[in-house]
Amino acid sequence: MTSFSWPSLWRGGLLTLAIVFVLSTQLLFQLGLYESWPLEAILLGWLDHFTDQLIVGACIFAAVALAGLVPVNSTPRRMALLAGAITLGAVTGEMAVMLRLPLAPDMSAAAVLAAKTARWLVIAGLAYAFFMLQREGAEAATQAHEKELQRIRLERQMSEARLQSLHAQMEPHFLFNTLANVQRLYRTEPERGRRMLSNFLAYLRAALPQMRSSETTLRQELELARAYLEVLHVRMGERLKVSFDVPAEYASLPFPPLALSTLTENAIKHGLNPLPEGGAIEISARVENGRLRVGVADTGAGLRSSSGSGAGLANLRARLAALYGEAAGLEFKANLPRGIRVTIVVPVEARPA
């Protein structure tokens, strides 16, 4: 018997009603009933019997519900309290029924009461056990479901943490390269070195907030990509041409952090860097069918030589799946006349959970 609650009172009442109804049908199965009485009388009698059972059932239910308010902590005491409550309810109810319809004069009221109370003890005891077991089982099921959800959430965070860790390993690489370049340029062309450094600072300025948050807008992502490409522009010079095709109204749409950087870094690393003549990168965004499509196209070495970039893209794909499920994804297409176009597709409405 735990504390009081309306839903469980309601369910207990429904269970009582169902059991009372089933018990009342006993009358229809009495020996020789249909030989001795017309059907109409039998149905009226059934209704009467149902009323009797309902009175007793309601008394027992009330007694058990009241007993539930008593705080008891040991099981034997709880059982004793329950048995007492059922007995009290059954005796009260059966006495009320006897007032409604007096017994035959030669029948012993005490014997009838004892027999009926014993029967009610068995039935109500079983019903109570059924009710409590169901309730406890349902509670355990709900909690298990919650724990399962928490586990899934944790696992999603885990894949995020792993990706951040991977990204963090990528970051120092870029950092070392840039600083080494600054060092080298500084000795030969101090002005270019200075420009590279200030571009790099701009990149870090854009990147710092992203490294902490889990949701950003497309604008922040574009700024980051632009800063990154400007750093590289100093290094690669005329070998790198950059163009943006992003309508201003999409800039405030939410976009997963550092996703665009992954594509941009890939396009440079595997697309343009291997080519002595360099190439062009175009970043574009469109909304189609409720999905935001952000693409990075390069005129680089193309699909074959980009096979080494598997890890970064696979991670990005896993991260998109973790954030948006089926609704998001990565698309690969050949970029004509050469190179590759990789597109991130994310739903516009849904925010990452």
């Binding site: 009926k116 079983l126 089982g137 298990a144 586990r151 600072l201």
Partner: protein, 228 residues
């Protein structure tokens, strides 16, 4: 193997015995004089309902065996109880009437012999009793097992959650250890940029220091020290 069947059948018999007692108590005050319903009648009730319960439990146990290793579904259990109640009553009444009657000398529905309608009525009434009480008992039994399964599921979900919690903490730590602290680098680079304008030689020295300390992992260890 044997304990399984024995436990089920014994439980069924016990339930039948309780039912026999309840029925006996129920009919006792209706008889006038009450002494007419003697111990003989109670024995007859005991044999009748005990046997019904015994067979009902055996039939449900057979259904459980067939379904193993999975548990019976609710509707399967309900079907088994219905089949067990009706079949059990039919089989046991046939057995007591044709076999036991002559051996134990009990009064087992002898009053119905030659009255098929009465007999059918008696079988129907017994089936009703077995169905209602057997059904209640089966519902409690199935709920017990269901609750046990749910508690077990809760326990393993808790364990799995705790496990992924610790793995996550480890992953977070790994992620921190792998990271160069960007803010620290940023501050140093900003100073470097300022130096570039004022003192080229100092800027170069500072840059060399920064690069070598990055290689030496100073920034990473520092980050760990601050977060650990």
């Amino acid at each position: 193997m044997l304990p399984f069947w024995l436990a089920r059948a014994g439980f069924g018999f016990l339930c039948g015995a309780v039912l026999a007692l309840l029925e006996y108590l129920h009919y006792f005050p209706l008889m006038s004089p009450p002494s007419e319903l003697g111990l003989d009648s109670f024995r007859a009730l005991l044999v009748g309902y005990g046997g019904n319960g015994f067979l009902l439990a055996l039939i449900v146990a057979a259904a459980e065996r067939r379904a193993r290793p999975r548990e019976l579904r609710a509707w399967e259990l309900a079907a088994a109880v219905v089949a067990g109640a009706v079949l059990g009553v039919l089989l046991w009444q046939g057995f007591t009437h044709f076999v036991l009657r002559d051996h134990l000398g009990l009064r087992l529905f002898t009053e119905h012999v030659g009255q098929p309608r009465m007999w059918a009525g008696a079988l129907l009434y017994q089936s009703w009793l077995m169905l209602v009480f057997g059904g209640l008992a089966a519902a409690v039994y199935a709920s017990r097992r269901w609750r046990a399964r749910m508690l077990e599921a809760l326990r393993s979900a808790e364990i799995a959650r705790a496990k992924s919690e610790s793995v996550l903490a480890q992953a977070r730590l790994d992620s921190l250890q792998a990271r160069v602290d960007p803010e620290l680098v940023f501050r140093n680079l900003a100073q470097l940029e300022a130096l570039y304008v004022t003192d080229l030689a100092a800027a170069e020295r500072s840059l060399d220091e920064l690069v070598s300390s990055l290689r030496g992992g100073t920034y990473m260890t520092d980050r760990i020290r601050r977060t650990a």
